[in-house]
């Protein structure tokens, strides 16, 4: 089996995540959609790494990307909790009032 089917799945994940990101106003929902996009990107990275001449390099970058994504989730969820504590809502349209 070639890597082409894996790339097709990654493109589908990217499209579904993009739809969720663009169509939602809820901060947590947008974060979850961004994570679906991240999963699609990660799968594309590893598929292309497997097809390239240097698979270990792609694997190393993938490990670093997963670690950074875990950190990013922590930051984003903390912001959402703080926003909910201060405003009682996680609607991104109300973010402009989220000052100080």
């Amino acid at each position: 089996m070639t890597v082409l089917p894996y790339l097709a799945v990654s493109a589908c994940l990217f499209g579904i995540g993009l739809y969720g990101l663009l169509s939602s106003r809820n901060f947590i929902k947008m974060l979850l959609s961004a994570e679906v996009i991240f999963n699609g990107g990660l799968l594309a990275l590893l598929s292309l790494a497997a097809a390239s001449g240097a698979p270990p390099t792609g694997g190393t970058i993938a490990i670093l990307a997963i670690a950074i994504a875990a950190a990013e989730v922590g930051v984003a969820v903390s912001i959402a909790i703080l926003m909910f504590m201060l405003k009682g809502d996680v609607d991104v349209y109300k973010l402009e009032k989220f000052k100080g």
Binding site: E35, L42, G59, I63, L64
Partner: protein
């Protein structure tokens, strides 16, 4: 050989169906708890693909760090909201157009890619991590520590209020 190909194809089809259906449910579920649960399934499906592509170490890392820590963290954080979070009606058609266009563009770009999965072991990846990519590893570690400090600070701020 032929039987191995059939089994591989079957596993791929099942994992692809699970991953894509779970991703659709992440976006469409009315409850954030269910969305986070389906994101864990997307991560698990992705881990299956990683193992099939020849990256078993990264597959385990994905399961332990991403599914085991990040998604579980989201799931527990959602329970911290004292009242149910409202989910507004979606802004449908434009978002759908953009998503279909992006998917079609990616499929077109990927169609010329050739190659077959390889096998990459722990030794190659760890030697790259502590060699060529050691600064990137330090930065990733610092990012994780910073997140930990930030989470503690926010928790203490909430406690003080």
């Amino acid at each position: 050989m032929f039987q191995a190909n059939i089994v591989e194809g079957l596993i791929f089809t099942l994992a692809a169906a699970l991953t894509i259906a779970s991703a659709a449910l992440v976006v469409s579920a009315k409850s954030l708890v269910y969305s986070a649960f389906f994101l864990a399934l997307v991560g698990a499906g992705n881990a299956v693909f990683m193992a099939m592509l020849g990256f078993p170490v990264i597959s385990l890392f994905q399961l332990s760090v991403y599914v085991g820590a990040a998604v579980t963290f989201i799931l527990f954080s959602i329970t911290m909201f004292r009242k149910p979070v409202r989910i507004e009606p979606t802004a449908g058609i434009l978002a759908l157009d953009a998503a279909v266009l992006a998917t079609a563009g990616l499929l077109y770009a990927f169609q010329s890619v050739t190659g077959t999965p390889v096998s990459v072991g722990f030794k190659e990846i760890s030697s790259l991590l502590i060699g060529k990519y050691r600064f990137a590893l330090i930065i990733a570690s610092l990012a994780l520590v910073t997140t930990l400090i930030e989470a503690i600070t926010l928790a203490m701020r909430g406690e003080m209020k």
